[in-house]
Amino acid sequence: MTAINDIFIITRRQLLLLTRVPEVLIFSTIQPVMFVLLFRYVFGGSIDTGQPGGYVQLLMPGIFVQTVAFTLAGTASGLAEDMKKGLIDRFRSLPISQSALVVGRTLGDSLLNIVVLAVMGIAGFIVGWRPSSGVGNVALGFLFLLFFGYALSWVGVLVGLSASDARVVQNVSFIVTFPLTFLSNAFAPTTGMPRVLQYFAEWNPVSTMVAACRELFGLENQFGATAGSFPSEHPLVTSLFYMVVIMVIFVPLSLRKYRNYAE
Protein backbone atom coordinates (compact mmCIF):
# COMPACT_ATOMS: atom_id res chain seq x y z
CA MET A 1 0.00 0.00 0.00
CA THR A 2 2.82 2.42 0.77
CA ALA A 3 4.13 1.78 -2.76
CA ILE A 4 0.82 3.00 -4.19
CA ASN A 5 0.97 6.00 -1.91
CA ASP A 6 4.51 6.81 -3.09
CA ILE A 7 3.47 6.54 -6.73
CA PHE A 8 0.50 8.79 -6.05
CA ILE A 9 2.77 11.44 -4.52
CA ILE A 10 5.14 11.36 -7.50
CA THR A 11 2.26 11.59 -9.97
CA ARG A 12 0.81 14.49 -8.03
CA ARG A 13 4.18 16.22 -8.14
CA GLN A 14 4.07 16.07 -11.90
CA LEU A 15 0.60 17.56 -12.01
CA LEU A 16 1.81 20.26 -9.64
CA LEU A 17 4.63 20.99 -12.08
CA LEU A 18 2.02 21.46 -14.80
CA THR A 19 0.16 24.03 -12.74
CA ARG A 20 3.42 25.87 -12.03
CA VAL A 21 4.55 25.88 -15.65
CA PRO A 22 1.27 26.02 -17.57
CA GLU A 23 3.25 26.59 -20.78
CA VAL A 24 4.04 22.87 -20.84
CA LEU A 25 0.36 21.98 -20.94
CA ILE A 26 -0.45 24.77 -23.37
CA PHE A 27 2.24 23.79 -25.85
CA SER A 28 1.61 20.08 -25.55
CA THR A 29 -1.98 20.77 -26.65
CA ILE A 30 -1.29 23.54 -29.17
CA GLN A 31 1.02 21.36 -31.23
CA PRO A 32 -1.43 18.52 -31.93
CA VAL A 33 -4.27 20.97 -32.48
CA MET A 34 -2.07 22.75 -34.99
CA PHE A 35 -1.47 19.42 -36.74
CA VAL A 36 -5.20 18.78 -36.87
CA LEU A 37 -5.82 22.14 -38.52
CA LEU A 38 -2.86 21.95 -40.92
CA PHE A 39 -3.58 18.45 -42.16
CA ARG A 40 -7.29 19.01 -42.27
CA TYR A 41 -7.05 22.11 -44.44
CA VAL A 42 -3.82 21.48 -46.38
CA PHE A 43 -4.37 17.85 -47.43
CA GLY A 44 -8.05 17.51 -46.69
CA GLY A 45 -9.02 19.25 -49.93
CA SER A 46 -6.82 17.20 -52.22
CA ILE A 47 -7.16 13.68 -50.82
CA ASP A 48 -10.32 12.01 -51.95
CA THR A 49 -11.31 9.40 -49.45
CA GLY A 50 -14.71 8.55 -50.74
CA GLN A 51 -15.61 8.42 -47.06
CA PRO A 52 -18.63 10.32 -45.84
CA GLY A 53 -17.33 13.30 -43.88
CA GLY A 54 -14.09 13.40 -45.83
CA TYR A 55 -10.43 13.29 -44.90
CA VAL A 56 -10.83 14.56 -41.35
CA GLN A 57 -12.53 11.29 -40.33
CA LEU A 58 -9.44 9.31 -41.33
CA LEU A 59 -7.03 11.97 -40.17
CA MET A 60 -8.15 12.23 -36.55
CA PRO A 61 -7.20 8.67 -35.49
CA GLY A 62 -3.84 9.23 -37.21
CA ILE A 63 -3.14 12.40 -35.29
CA PHE A 64 -4.35 10.91 -32.02
CA VAL A 65 -1.89 8.04 -32.40
CA GLN A 66 0.94 10.34 -33.43
CA THR A 67 0.34 12.51 -30.39
CA VAL A 68 0.32 9.67 -27.87
CA ALA A 69 3.44 8.24 -29.57
CA PHE A 70 5.24 11.41 -28.55
CA THR A 71 4.65 10.45 -24.91
CA LEU A 72 7.91 8.55 -25.36
CA ALA A 73 9.78 11.83 -25.78
CA GLY A 74 7.91 13.49 -22.91
CA THR A 75 8.70 10.77 -20.40
CA ALA A 76 12.30 10.48 -21.59
CA SER A 77 13.12 14.16 -21.37
CA GLY A 78 11.32 14.55 -18.03
CA LEU A 79 13.42 11.80 -16.48
CA ALA A 80 16.64 13.02 -18.08
CA GLU A 81 15.92 16.43 -16.60
CA ASP A 82 15.44 14.95 -13.11
CA MET A 83 18.66 13.03 -13.47
CA LYS A 84 20.62 16.09 -14.45
CA LYS A 85 19.53 17.90 -11.32
CA GLY A 86 20.59 15.10 -9.01
CA LEU A 87 16.95 14.65 -8.04
CA ILE A 88 17.03 10.95 -8.81
CA ASP A 89 19.80 10.44 -6.25
CA ARG A 90 17.60 12.03 -3.65
CA PHE A 91 14.63 9.85 -4.54
CA ARG A 92 16.79 6.75 -4.57
CA SER A 93 18.11 7.52 -1.09
CA LEU A 94 14.61 7.84 0.35
CA PRO A 95 12.86 4.95 2.08
CA ILE A 96 10.30 4.65 -0.72
CA SER A 97 9.41 1.97 -3.18
CA GLN A 98 12.24 1.95 -5.70
CA SER A 99 9.93 1.88 -8.69
CA ALA A 100 7.70 4.72 -7.44
CA LEU A 101 9.55 7.45 -9.28
CA VAL A 102 9.30 5.84 -12.71
CA VAL A 103 5.82 4.40 -12.27
CA GLY A 104 4.60 7.77 -10.98
CA ARG A 105 6.20 9.51 -13.94
CA THR A 106 4.57 7.21 -16.52
CA LEU A 107 1.17 7.63 -14.87
CA GLY A 108 1.58 11.40 -14.76
CA ASP A 109 2.39 11.46 -18.45
CA SER A 110 -0.72 9.40 -19.16
CA LEU A 111 -2.86 11.87 -17.23
CA LEU A 112 -1.41 14.63 -19.38
CA ASN A 113 -2.42 12.58 -22.43
CA ILE A 114 -6.03 12.52 -21.23
CA VAL A 115 -6.10 16.31 -21.25
CA VAL A 116 -4.35 16.55 -24.62
CA LEU A 117 -6.62 13.98 -26.26
CA ALA A 118 -9.71 15.74 -24.92
CA VAL A 119 -8.60 19.09 -26.34
CA MET A 120 -7.74 17.47 -29.68
CA GLY A 121 -11.07 15.68 -29.78
CA ILE A 122 -12.88 18.98 -29.32
CA ALA A 123 -10.74 20.67 -31.98
CA GLY A 124 -11.43 17.77 -34.34
CA PHE A 125 -15.16 17.98 -33.67
CA ILE A 126 -15.10 21.69 -34.53
CA VAL A 127 -13.49 20.99 -37.91
CA GLY A 128 -15.89 18.21 -38.80
CA TRP A 129 -14.77 14.99 -37.11
CA ARG A 130 -17.84 12.88 -36.33
CA PRO A 131 -17.18 9.38 -34.99
CA SER A 132 -20.20 7.26 -35.83
CA SER A 133 -19.74 4.19 -33.66
CA GLY A 134 -21.47 5.18 -30.42
CA VAL A 135 -20.14 6.34 -27.07
CA GLY A 136 -18.90 2.94 -25.92
CA ASN A 137 -16.69 2.29 -28.92
CA VAL A 138 -15.33 5.82 -28.99
CA ALA A 139 -14.42 5.53 -25.30
CA LEU A 140 -12.75 2.20 -26.01
CA GLY A 141 -10.78 3.90 -28.79
CA PHE A 142 -9.49 6.52 -26.39
CA LEU A 143 -8.64 3.84 -23.86
CA PHE A 144 -6.59 2.13 -26.55
CA LEU A 145 -4.80 5.38 -27.26
CA LEU A 146 -4.01 5.93 -23.58
CA PHE A 147 -2.69 2.42 -23.17
CA PHE A 148 -0.51 2.81 -26.27
CA GLY A 149 0.89 6.06 -24.87
CA TYR A 150 1.47 4.38 -21.53
CA ALA A 151 3.38 1.49 -23.11
CA LEU A 152 5.59 3.87 -25.08
CA SER A 153 6.15 5.88 -21.92
CA TRP A 154 8.11 2.89 -20.60
CA VAL A 155 10.33 2.95 -23.67
CA GLY A 156 10.83 6.62 -22.80
CA VAL A 157 11.94 5.68 -19.27
CA LEU A 158 14.75 3.57 -20.68
CA VAL A 159 15.74 6.24 -23.19
CA GLY A 160 15.68 8.96 -20.55
CA LEU A 161 17.75 6.97 -18.04
CA SER A 162 20.26 5.89 -20.67
CA ALA A 163 20.90 9.27 -22.23
CA SER A 164 23.80 11.43 -21.21
CA ASP A 165 22.05 14.72 -21.79
CA ALA A 166 18.47 15.99 -21.77
CA ARG A 167 18.92 17.61 -25.18
CA VAL A 168 20.10 14.35 -26.69
CA VAL A 169 16.93 12.72 -25.40
CA GLN A 170 14.73 15.13 -27.34
CA ASN A 171 16.63 14.41 -30.55
CA VAL A 172 16.75 10.65 -30.10
CA SER A 173 13.06 10.43 -29.30
CA PHE A 174 12.25 12.60 -32.28
CA ILE A 175 14.35 10.51 -34.65
CA VAL A 176 12.60 7.34 -33.41
CA THR A 177 9.08 8.66 -33.30
CA PHE A 178 8.88 10.76 -36.43
CA PRO A 179 9.59 8.05 -39.05
CA LEU A 180 7.40 5.61 -37.13
CA THR A 181 4.43 7.93 -37.33
CA PHE A 182 4.95 8.89 -40.97
CA LEU A 183 5.86 5.45 -42.33
CA SER A 184 2.33 4.42 -41.53
CA ASN A 185 -1.23 4.72 -42.64
CA ALA A 186 -1.78 7.71 -40.34
CA PHE A 187 -1.91 10.48 -42.91
CA ALA A 188 -1.90 8.98 -46.37
CA PRO A 189 -2.53 5.63 -48.06
CA THR A 190 0.42 3.27 -47.80
CA THR A 191 -0.27 1.97 -51.31
CA GLY A 192 1.75 4.80 -52.81
CA MET A 193 4.91 3.80 -50.91
CA PRO A 194 7.75 1.67 -52.31
CA ARG A 195 7.22 -2.04 -51.69
CA VAL A 196 9.63 -2.39 -48.77
CA LEU A 197 8.17 0.57 -46.95
CA GLN A 198 4.70 -0.82 -47.51
CA TYR A 199 5.60 -3.95 -45.58
CA PHE A 200 7.08 -1.86 -42.84
CA ALA A 201 4.03 0.38 -42.73
CA GLU A 202 1.76 -2.62 -42.64
CA TRP A 203 3.37 -4.10 -39.53
CA ASN A 204 4.21 -0.78 -37.94
CA PRO A 205 2.46 -0.57 -34.53
CA VAL A 206 1.44 2.98 -35.38
CA SER A 207 -0.46 1.70 -38.41
CA THR A 208 -2.20 -1.04 -36.49
CA MET A 209 -3.12 1.45 -33.79
CA VAL A 210 -4.49 3.91 -36.33
CA ALA A 211 -6.42 1.12 -38.03
CA ALA A 212 -7.75 -0.05 -34.68
CA CYS A 213 -8.92 3.46 -33.79
CA ARG A 214 -10.54 3.92 -37.19
CA GLU A 215 -12.42 0.70 -36.63
CA LEU A 216 -13.49 1.75 -33.16
CA PHE A 217 -14.57 5.16 -34.42
CA GLY A 218 -16.73 3.48 -37.04
CA LEU A 219 -14.67 3.84 -40.24
CA GLU A 220 -13.39 1.53 -42.87
CA ASN A 221 -9.62 1.52 -42.70
CA GLN A 222 -9.09 2.92 -46.16
CA PHE A 223 -5.45 3.85 -45.85
CA GLY A 224 -4.55 0.35 -44.86
CA ALA A 225 -1.96 -1.61 -46.75
CA THR A 226 -2.51 -4.71 -48.82
CA ALA A 227 -5.81 -6.17 -47.85
CA GLY A 228 -5.70 -9.63 -46.37
CA SER A 229 -2.56 -9.21 -44.29
CA PHE A 230 -2.96 -10.13 -40.66
CA PRO A 231 -2.33 -6.69 -39.13
CA SER A 232 -4.74 -4.95 -41.50
CA GLU A 233 -7.43 -7.59 -40.97
CA HIS A 234 -7.03 -7.68 -37.18
CA PRO A 235 -5.73 -4.29 -36.11
CA LEU A 236 -7.24 -4.46 -32.61
CA VAL A 237 -5.64 -7.76 -31.72
CA THR A 238 -2.32 -6.84 -33.31
CA SER A 239 -2.19 -3.50 -31.49
CA LEU A 240 -3.03 -5.08 -28.18
CA PHE A 241 -0.31 -7.65 -28.80
CA TYR A 242 2.23 -4.91 -29.57
CA MET A 243 1.37 -2.98 -26.41
CA VAL A 244 1.70 -6.04 -24.23
CA VAL A 245 5.02 -6.95 -25.85
CA ILE A 246 6.36 -3.42 -25.38
CA MET A 247 5.37 -3.50 -21.70
CA VAL A 248 6.76 -6.97 -21.12
CA ILE A 249 10.10 -5.95 -22.57
CA PHE A 250 10.49 -2.40 -21.39
CA VAL A 251 8.98 -2.38 -17.88
CA PRO A 252 11.56 -4.79 -16.44
CA LEU A 253 14.40 -3.28 -18.49
CA SER A 254 13.54 0.23 -17.35
CA LEU A 255 13.14 -0.74 -13.71
CA ARG A 256 16.47 -2.53 -13.78
CA LYS A 257 18.10 0.46 -15.40
CA TYR A 258 16.65 2.68 -12.67
CA ARG A 259 17.88 0.47 -9.84
CA ASN A 260 21.38 0.26 -11.33
CA TYR A 261 21.35 3.68 -12.81
CA ALA A 262 24.50 4.83 -11.04
CA GLU A 263 26.57 1.87 -12.17
Binding site: D6, R20, V21, R92, S93, P95, I96, A262
Partner: protein
Protein backbone atom coordinates in the same frame (compact mmCIF):
# COMPACT_ATOMS: atom_id res chain seq x y z
CA UNK B 1 29.38 2.92 19.24
CA UNK B 2 30.35 3.30 15.60
CA UNK B 3 27.60 4.79 13.48
CA UNK B 4 29.39 4.23 10.20
CA UNK B 5 31.78 1.44 9.36
CA UNK B 6 33.35 0.91 5.96
CA UNK B 7 35.73 -2.01 5.53
CA UNK B 8 37.95 -2.60 2.56
CA UNK B 9 35.63 -0.97 0.05
CA UNK B 10 36.62 -1.46 -3.55
CA UNK B 11 34.82 0.09 -6.48
CA UNK B 12 36.01 0.15 -10.05
CA UNK B 13 34.51 1.79 -13.10
CA UNK B 14 34.96 1.18 -16.78
CA UNK B 15 35.52 -2.56 -16.38
CA UNK B 16 38.23 -2.15 -13.79
CA UNK B 17 40.18 0.53 -15.58
CA UNK B 18 39.31 3.26 -13.11
CA UNK B 19 39.84 2.28 -9.50
CA UNK B 20 37.70 4.76 -7.62
CA UNK B 21 38.03 3.01 -4.25
CA UNK B 22 40.96 0.81 -3.50
CA UNK B 23 40.38 -0.88 -0.16
CA UNK B 24 39.01 2.05 1.76
CA UNK B 25 38.43 1.86 5.53
CA UNK B 26 36.46 4.39 7.51
CA UNK B 27 34.45 4.71 10.68
CA UNK B 28 32.47 7.41 12.38
CA UNK B 29 31.81 7.38 16.12
CA UNK B 30 28.20 8.09 17.07
CA UNK B 31 27.55 11.78 17.67
CA UNK B 32 30.74 12.98 16.00
CA UNK B 33 31.63 14.63 12.73
CA UNK B 34 34.05 13.03 10.31
CA UNK B 35 35.29 15.00 7.38
CA UNK B 36 36.53 13.08 4.36
CA UNK B 37 39.05 15.36 2.76
CA UNK B 38 40.50 14.85 -0.68
CA UNK B 39 40.93 16.28 -4.15
CA UNK B 40 38.60 15.69 -7.08
CA UNK B 41 38.71 12.07 -8.12
CA UNK B 42 40.00 10.81 -4.78
CA UNK B 43 36.83 8.77 -4.29
CA UNK B 44 34.88 10.98 -1.90
CA UNK B 45 31.63 10.90 -3.81
CA UNK B 46 31.93 7.18 -4.43
CA UNK B 47 32.22 6.49 -0.67
CA UNK B 48 29.16 8.59 0.06
CA UNK B 49 27.19 6.93 -2.73
CA UNK B 50 28.03 3.48 -1.41
CA UNK B 51 27.18 4.34 2.19
CA UNK B 52 23.88 5.89 1.11
CA UNK B 53 22.90 2.78 -0.93
CA UNK B 54 23.08 4.51 -4.31
CA UNK B 55 25.98 2.38 -5.47
CA UNK B 56 27.09 -1.18 -4.76
CA UNK B 57 30.76 -1.74 -4.05
CA UNK B 58 32.66 -4.42 -5.97
CA UNK B 59 33.80 -5.83 -2.64
CA UNK B 60 34.04 -4.87 1.00
CA UNK B 61 31.53 -4.27 3.78
CA UNK B 62 29.70 -1.27 5.04
CA UNK B 63 27.34 -0.60 7.93
CA UNK B 64 25.34 2.48 8.77
CA UNK B 65 23.70 2.70 12.18
CA UNK B 66 24.40 -0.99 12.61
CA UNK B 67 22.62 -1.96 9.40
CA UNK B 68 24.36 -3.72 6.54
CA UNK B 69 24.32 -1.38 3.55
CA UNK B 70 24.67 -4.07 0.92
CA UNK B 71 22.10 -6.54 2.20
CA UNK B 72 19.53 -4.15 3.67
CA UNK B 73 19.67 -0.94 1.65
CA UNK B 74 15.96 -0.28 2.22
CA UNK B 75 16.48 -0.25 5.99
CA UNK B 76 19.50 2.04 5.68
CA UNK B 77 17.43 4.53 3.69
CA UNK B 78 15.09 4.89 6.67
CA UNK B 79 17.82 6.18 8.97
CA UNK B 80 19.99 8.37 6.76
CA UNK B 81 19.85 11.86 5.32
CA UNK B 82 21.79 12.76 2.18
CA UNK B 83 22.56 16.10 0.71
CA UNK B 84 24.65 15.89 -2.44
CA UNK B 85 26.87 18.14 -4.49
CA UNK B 86 23.96 19.38 -6.50
CA UNK B 87 20.93 20.71 -4.73
CA UNK B 88 18.58 17.81 -5.33
CA UNK B 89 15.31 19.62 -5.11
CA UNK B 90 12.73 20.36 -7.73
CA UNK B 91 13.53 23.67 -9.43
CA UNK B 92 10.04 24.42 -10.54
CA UNK B 93 8.31 23.67 -7.27
CA UNK B 94 8.48 26.05 -4.32
CA UNK B 95 10.61 25.39 -1.26
CA UNK B 96 7.47 24.59 0.67
CA UNK B 97 6.15 22.18 -1.99
CA UNK B 98 9.46 20.37 -2.08
CA UNK B 99 9.62 19.83 1.67
CA UNK B 100 6.00 18.74 1.93
CA UNK B 101 6.50 16.29 -0.93
CA UNK B 102 9.60 14.78 0.63
CA UNK B 103 7.83 14.67 4.00
CA UNK B 104 5.01 12.68 2.45
CA UNK B 105 7.49 10.39 0.76
CA UNK B 106 8.91 9.75 4.23
CA UNK B 107 5.32 8.70 5.08
CA UNK B 108 4.74 11.48 7.57
CA UNK B 109 1.16 12.10 6.50
CA UNK B 110 -0.04 15.38 5.06
CA UNK B 111 -0.54 17.26 8.33
CA UNK B 112 2.78 16.31 9.82
CA UNK B 113 4.60 16.88 6.54
CA UNK B 114 3.25 20.43 6.42
CA UNK B 115 4.20 21.09 10.03
CA UNK B 116 7.68 19.71 9.53
CA UNK B 117 8.15 21.73 6.31
CA UNK B 118 7.26 24.97 8.07
CA UNK B 119 9.51 24.12 10.99
CA UNK B 120 12.50 23.45 8.71
CA UNK B 121 11.89 26.52 6.55
CA UNK B 122 11.89 28.61 9.73
CA UNK B 123 15.03 26.97 11.04
CA UNK B 124 16.98 27.52 7.82
CA UNK B 125 15.77 31.11 7.37
CA UNK B 126 13.77 30.26 4.28
CA UNK B 127 10.29 31.17 5.49
CA UNK B 128 10.16 34.30 3.33
CA UNK B 129 11.19 32.39 0.22
CA UNK B 130 8.95 29.41 1.02
CA UNK B 131 6.37 30.12 -1.66
CA UNK B 132 8.84 30.94 -4.39
CA UNK B 133 10.05 28.39 -6.95
CA UNK B 134 13.54 27.08 -6.21
CA UNK B 135 14.87 28.46 -9.48
CA UNK B 136 14.65 31.95 -7.95
CA UNK B 137 16.84 30.91 -4.99
CA UNK B 138 20.52 31.75 -4.60
CA UNK B 139 23.04 28.91 -4.53
CA UNK B 140 23.26 29.12 -0.74
CA UNK B 141 19.49 29.02 -0.31
CA UNK B 142 19.24 25.96 -2.55
CA UNK B 143 21.81 24.13 -0.49
CA UNK B 144 20.05 25.05 2.72
CA UNK B 145 16.77 23.78 1.35
CA UNK B 146 18.49 20.63 0.17
CA UNK B 147 19.92 20.16 3.63
CA UNK B 148 16.47 20.76 5.14
CA UNK B 149 15.09 18.03 2.87
CA UNK B 150 17.67 15.59 4.21
CA UNK B 151 16.58 16.36 7.79
CA UNK B 152 12.86 15.77 7.42
CA UNK B 153 12.92 12.72 9.61
CA UNK B 154 15.74 13.16 12.07
CA UNK B 155 18.37 10.97 10.45
CA UNK B 156 20.63 8.83 12.61
CA UNK B 157 23.48 9.55 10.25
CA UNK B 158 23.70 12.52 7.93
CA UNK B 159 25.85 12.53 4.78
CA UNK B 160 26.87 15.80 3.18
CA UNK B 161 28.78 15.49 -0.07
CA UNK B 162 30.74 18.69 -0.68
CA UNK B 163 28.06 20.91 0.84
CA UNK B 164 29.75 24.18 -0.10
CA UNK B 165 31.31 23.41 -3.47
CA UNK B 166 30.31 26.08 -5.93
CA UNK B 167 29.07 28.53 -3.30
CA UNK B 168 30.40 32.07 -3.02
CA UNK B 169 32.20 32.97 0.23
CA UNK B 170 29.04 34.32 1.79
CA UNK B 171 27.02 31.26 0.89
CA UNK B 172 29.79 29.12 2.31
CA UNK B 173 29.79 31.02 5.61
CA UNK B 174 26.03 30.67 5.90
CA UNK B 175 26.22 26.97 5.17
CA UNK B 176 28.93 26.50 7.77
CA UNK B 177 26.76 28.28 10.31
CA UNK B 178 23.86 25.95 9.56
CA UNK B 179 26.03 22.83 9.76
CA UNK B 180 27.63 24.00 13.02
CA UNK B 181 24.15 24.36 14.52
CA UNK B 182 23.41 20.77 13.50
CA UNK B 183 26.65 19.58 15.00
CA UNK B 184 25.82 21.28 18.28
CA UNK B 185 22.53 19.41 18.25
CA UNK B 186 24.55 16.18 18.30
CA UNK B 187 24.07 14.76 14.83
CA UNK B 188 26.36 12.03 13.49
CA UNK B 189 27.77 13.49 10.34
CA UNK B 190 29.99 12.36 7.51
CA UNK B 191 31.00 15.25 5.33
CA UNK B 192 33.22 15.34 2.27
CA UNK B 193 35.14 18.39 1.22
CA UNK B 194 38.03 19.63 -0.85
CA UNK B 195 38.77 22.40 1.60
CA UNK B 196 40.99 21.94 4.61
CA UNK B 197 39.49 25.02 6.17
CA UNK B 198 36.02 23.53 5.93
CA UNK B 199 37.10 20.30 7.54
CA UNK B 200 38.82 22.38 10.19
CA UNK B 201 35.69 24.42 10.95
CA UNK B 202 33.23 21.57 11.07
CA UNK B 203 34.82 18.24 11.90
CA UNK B 204 36.06 16.47 14.99
CA UNK B 205 38.06 14.10 12.93
CA UNK B 206 39.49 14.20 9.42
CA UNK B 207 40.22 11.33 7.06
CA UNK B 208 42.40 12.36 4.15
CA UNK B 209 41.82 10.22 1.08
CA UNK B 210 43.77 9.90 -2.11
CA UNK B 211 43.34 7.49 -5.02
CA UNK B 212 40.60 5.60 -3.20
CA UNK B 213 42.39 5.03 0.09
CA UNK B 214 42.58 6.75 3.45
CA UNK B 215 46.13 8.05 3.75
CA UNK B 216 45.84 9.91 7.06
CA UNK B 217 43.40 10.14 9.87
CA UNK B 218 43.32 12.48 12.83
CA UNK B 219 42.14 15.75 14.29
CA UNK B 220 42.80 18.86 12.26
CA UNK B 221 45.50 19.94 14.72
CA UNK B 222 47.32 16.67 14.33
CA UNK B 223 47.14 16.89 10.54
CA UNK B 224 48.30 20.47 10.52
CA UNK B 225 51.32 19.53 12.55
CA UNK B 226 52.15 17.02 9.85
CA UNK B 227 51.75 19.72 7.25
CA UNK B 228 53.91 22.07 9.22
CA UNK B 229 51.65 25.07 9.47
CA UNK B 230 52.38 27.63 6.82
CA UNK B 231 54.05 27.27 3.48
CA UNK B 232 56.89 29.26 2.07
CA UNK B 233 56.86 30.13 -1.61
CA UNK B 234 59.79 31.54 -3.60
CA UNK B 235 60.06 32.32 -7.31
CA UNK B 236 63.56 32.74 -8.75
CA UNK B 237 65.36 32.85 -12.11
CA UNK B 238 65.98 29.51 -13.78
CA UNK B 239 69.71 29.35 -12.99
CA UNK B 240 69.09 29.82 -9.22
CA UNK B 241 66.54 27.06 -8.79
CA UNK B 242 68.89 24.36 -7.53
CA UNK B 243 70.57 26.56 -4.94
CA UNK B 244 67.27 28.06 -3.80
CA UNK B 245 65.75 24.60 -3.30
CA UNK B 246 68.66 23.74 -1.11
CA UNK B 247 68.18 26.86 1.01
CA UNK B 248 64.42 26.45 1.32
CA UNK B 249 64.75 22.76 2.19
CA UNK B 250 67.28 23.46 4.92
CA UNK B 251 65.15 26.21 6.49
CA UNK B 252 61.98 24.14 6.27
CA UNK B 253 63.47 20.85 7.33
CA UNK B 254 61.35 19.22 4.59
CA UNK B 255 62.33 18.64 1.02
CA UNK B 256 61.13 21.61 -1.03
CA UNK B 257 58.74 21.09 -3.94
CA UNK B 258 59.21 22.65 -7.36
CA UNK B 259 56.78 23.81 -10.00
CA UNK B 260 59.11 24.03 -12.98
CA UNK B 261 56.80 25.99 -15.21
CA UNK B 262 56.33 28.74 -12.65
CA UNK B 263 59.85 28.34 -11.24
CA UNK B 264 58.02 28.21 -7.91
CA UNK B 265 59.70 26.54 -4.97
CA UNK B 266 57.52 25.66 -1.99
CA UNK B 267 58.02 24.03 1.38
CA UNK B 268 56.03 23.79 4.58
CA UNK B 269 57.39 25.86 7.45
CA UNK B 270 56.37 25.99 11.09
CA UNK B 271 58.08 29.18 12.18
CA UNK B 272 56.25 31.62 9.90
CA UNK B 273 57.92 34.97 9.39
CA UNK B 274 61.12 33.81 11.07
CA UNK B 275 61.54 31.19 8.35
CA UNK B 276 60.75 33.79 5.71
CA UNK B 277 63.44 36.07 7.08
CA UNK B 278 65.97 33.23 7.22
CA UNK B 279 65.35 32.27 3.62
CA UNK B 280 65.68 35.87 2.44
CA UNK B 281 68.91 36.24 4.39
CA UNK B 282 70.38 33.05 2.93
CA UNK B 283 69.29 33.99 -0.59
CA UNK B 284 70.88 37.39 -0.18
CA UNK B 285 74.10 35.81 1.07
CA UNK B 286 74.09 33.54 -1.99
CA UNK B 287 73.59 36.53 -4.22
CA UNK B 288 70.16 35.33 -5.41
CA UNK B 289 67.47 37.89 -6.07
CA UNK B 290 64.02 36.40 -5.47
CA UNK B 291 61.37 37.48 -7.99
CA UNK B 292 58.59 36.74 -5.56
CA UNK B 293 58.48 35.44 -2.06
CA UNK B 294 55.69 34.86 0.42
CA UNK B 295 54.03 32.87 3.16
CA UNK B 296 50.81 30.98 2.48
CA UNK B 297 48.36 29.43 4.89
CA UNK B 298 48.30 25.63 4.62
CA UNK B 299 46.10 24.34 1.85
CA UNK B 300 44.89 20.92 0.88
CA UNK B 301 47.82 20.80 -1.52
CA UNK B 302 50.20 21.14 1.40
CA UNK B 303 48.50 18.33 3.29
CA UNK B 304 48.89 16.24 0.21
CA UNK B 305 52.41 17.19 -0.40
CA UNK B 306 53.27 16.41 3.19
CA UNK B 307 51.34 13.14 3.29
CA UNK B 308 51.90 11.66 -0.11
CA UNK B 309 54.91 13.43 -1.50
CA UNK B 310 52.88 14.36 -4.56
CA UNK B 311 50.59 17.25 -5.21
CA UNK B 312 46.84 16.81 -5.25
CA UNK B 313 46.30 15.95 -8.88
CA UNK B 314 43.10 16.96 -10.49
CA UNK B 315 41.65 13.84 -11.98
CA UNK B 316 38.38 13.00 -13.51
CA UNK B 317 35.91 12.77 -10.71
CA UNK B 318 34.22 9.46 -10.11
CA UNK B 319 30.79 10.89 -10.75
CA UNK B 320 31.79 11.79 -14.27
CA UNK B 321 32.87 8.29 -15.16
CA UNK B 322 29.92 6.55 -13.64
CA UNK B 323 28.16 5.98 -16.96
Amino acid sequence: MKSVIAENLVKTYDKGKVRALDGLNLDVEEGTVLSVLGPNGAGKTTVVRILTTLLRPDSGNAQVAGIDVINHPEKVREVIGLSGQYAAVDEILTGYDNLVMFGELYHLGKKQAVARANELLERFSLTEAAKRPIKTYSGGMRRRLDLAASLIVKPKVLFLDEPTTGLDPRGRQEMWGVIQELVKGGVTLLLTTQYLEEADQLADDIAVIDTGKVIARGTSDALKKQVGGERLEVVVEQQHIAKTMEIVSSVSGNKAGLDEGLRLITAPVSTGSVALFEVLKSLDAAGIHALDVGLKRPSLDDVFLALTGHAAEVKEDSKEVKK
